[in-house]
């Protein structure tokens, strides 16, 4: 098992630079997810690790060896592709064995390896089938089998679940997680789906515009987004953003917006900064609806979406959308156009209005 290290990895096409110096260290056995909107450079980064794209600048090290000019086949990495890239003219067994055959592994070893891998993935009955005769989930498994069978140092996944329907995706997600637990192999996984990132990753790398926005454990990123981009990208529904002015209140600093105000944490950075404009990040999950008159912040409710045990209250706050996640069990959500919520001051995340960066001093442990 081996680590992967990216030092200032750059990708440029001609004069156009699309990945601007990525630094990342993946420790042996770790499951790292690169997540970001499409076009953020995450796939390009993965493909540079795989050797499918040339690295324009910077150093890639796998297991202590510089890999920049090493051919993909000699990097000892395996990749699961979005469209699986299963060879349609070969059956499942031959697809899994392809890499071993190319590498001239002994026949009995190949047979044993295929048997073992197909056992792990529950493909034993389908070994004779062609990819065209398999379901989406089975194809996905074959694609993983093809990667596992080579026992590579590093697994790379390029949006492997995006071609599956929602239900299957959830199922395969769990399966990948289980597989990683069992094999413990270093894995780098690219997705644009923040739910996949949250559920699979040991650490998440959020990328945007060819840069890393933040690296951290899923909960760390959820609780302590470093900037408004990460805050808006992770979590579903995303964090509500409210522009507000810092004012001094009786019990501490408050944030004022549209004639209402909210108590916020007493951050060192805000002391003596009355009148500063900030962006408040309010997670839909962290607010509590209240029926107490005059308490909390009032919003105008447009629509209540009931999901079962909880409901999403779509509202507007100062003409901007504001979503609240609320429990439904044991209470009525009948609202006549208005709702009020409260939120503990330490759960209101405060960002600099210009740079979007979170102000210092706000760290939450799980």
């Amino acid at each position: 098992m081996s680590g992967v290290r990216l030092d200032h990895i750059v990708k440029a096409y001609g004069g156009l630079q699309v990945v601007h110096g990525i630094d990342l260290e993946v420790t042996p056995g770790e499951f790292v997810v690169l997540v970001g909107p499409s076009g953020c450079g995450k796939s390009t980064t993965l493909r540079m690790i795989a050797g499918l794209e040339e690295i324009s600048d910077g150093t890639l090290t796998i297991d202590g060896t510089v890999m920049n000019s090493i051919a993909p086949k000699d990097r000892d990495v395996a990749m699961v592709f979005q469209n699986y890239a299963l060879y349609p003219h070969l059956n499942v067994a031959d697809n899994i064995a392809f890499g071993l055959r190319i590498r001239k592994t002994r026949k009995d070893e190949i047979a044993a390896a295929v048997k073992e891998v197909s056992g792990i993935l529950g493909l034993t009955e389908y070994l004779e089938r062609r990819p065209a005769d398999l379901s989406g989930g089975q194809r996905q498994r074959v694609a993983m089998g093809r990667a596992i069978v080579r026992q590579p140092k590093v697994f790379l996944f390029d949006e492997p679940l995006s071609n599956l329907d929602a239900k299957l995706r959830t199922q395969m997600r769990a399966e990948i997680k289980r597989l990683h637990k069992r094999l413990g192999a270093t894995s780098i996984y690219v997705t644009h789906d923040q739910v996949e990132a949250m559920t699979l990753a040991d650490r998440i790398v959020v990328m945007n515009d060819g840069r890393i926005e933040q690296i951290g454990s899923p909960m760390d990123l959820f609780l302590n987004p470093a900037n408004t981009f990460v805050a808006g990208f992770l979590g579903s529904p995303p964090m509500n953003m409210v522009t507000a002015k810092v004012v001094a209140g009786d019990t501490g600093p408050r944030a004022e917006f549209g004639g209402q105000s909210l108590e916020i944490a007493d951050l060192p950075e805000l002391r003596g900064q009355s009148g500063r404009i900030v962006t408040l990040g309010i997670r839909p999950e962290f607010v509590t609806l209240t029926t107490e008159d005059g308490a909390g912040v009032a919003v105008d409710v447009d629509l209540v979406e009931t999901l079962g045990s909880e409901a999403l209250v779509h509202a507007t706050l100062g003409e901007k959308p504001f979503v609240i996640r609320a429990e439904t069990i044991g209470r009525s959500l009948a609202m006549d156009g208005k709702a009020r919520f409260t939120i503990p001051p330490h759960l209101v995340r405060i960002f600099d209005a210009d740079s979007g960066k979170a102000l210092a001093g706000q760290v939450h442990d799980q």
Binding site: H8, V10, H20, G39, C40, R47, E54, A71
Partner: protein, 327 residues
Amino acid sequence: MTDIPEQTGVPAEPAQRAPGYAKPTRAQAVVAHFKREWQLYAMLLPMVIWLLVFLYKPMYGLQIAFKDYSIFRGIQGSPWVGFEHFETLFSNDQFIRALRNTVIISFYTLLFGFPVPILLALMFNEILHKMFKKTAQTIVYLPHFISSVIIAGIVITAFSPSAGIVNTMLGWFGVEPIYFLTKPEWFRPIFIGTGIWQEAGFQSIVYLAAIAGVSPTLYESAVVDGASRWQMMWKITIPSILPTIIIMLIIRIGNIMEVSFEMVILLYQPATYETADVVNTFIYRQGIQGGQYDLAAAAGLFNAVVAFVLVIGANSISKRYSRTSLW
């Protein structure tokens, strides 16, 4: 699949160097690329060599059109004569005649031959009986795959004055046998008719494919609206394949210098040169048979340049028209 090279790029800026690693120079990057991908260039090589040796080298040899070429002096050693051969050509009645015949034969081929495959495709489209359709298609595509020598053989046999079926049939109506292939006035109808007979079926494939691309829901809604088959053909099918028709027409106009001269060589004889001799048969007789390589090369160059201009023109027009180029 993968992220397409991002649209969000910003101009390259030097990244901070990782210790012990220098950004590769351009030359190093090129060397690394060839080291990685040399097999790709090895695959390309035989084809490129072939193109250079068999198609581009003759283009170099075209210079004999401006030289007093002799085999003994070779292409390099022969003296330049400027446009002398072109002047000779354009004062040569035979060449002018060949040029005229080429254009006339192409024009009539276009006029009579162009609509036939469209009609055939429209008619095939109206056939419901699958077996009948398949069989008829199989038959009408067949002549395309028969060699011109055989087609010529069939024509010669069928139009033979004593034994041929054409004269036999004319005999039933009391017409005296006609020596078709020695009559200049009969050459073009026979040549063009043979061409249509041989190619129309095959050419209909393009239009059938275009028709197959028309959404069935258009027809279904027309049926619900009470349209007849005839109306549907005129209101749906033909307008839908009109772009294809226009593109094919442009291509054909672009190829107007191309008369299937193999067939001309097989069917013409001195008695019919008057209407049958085209530029390429002229080149063949003057150059290959007569050994006047420089003059024939000049005729060929003229032909190729006109064809090139027409083809490029046709391609750019069709590009503008359809946003799809032909190549």
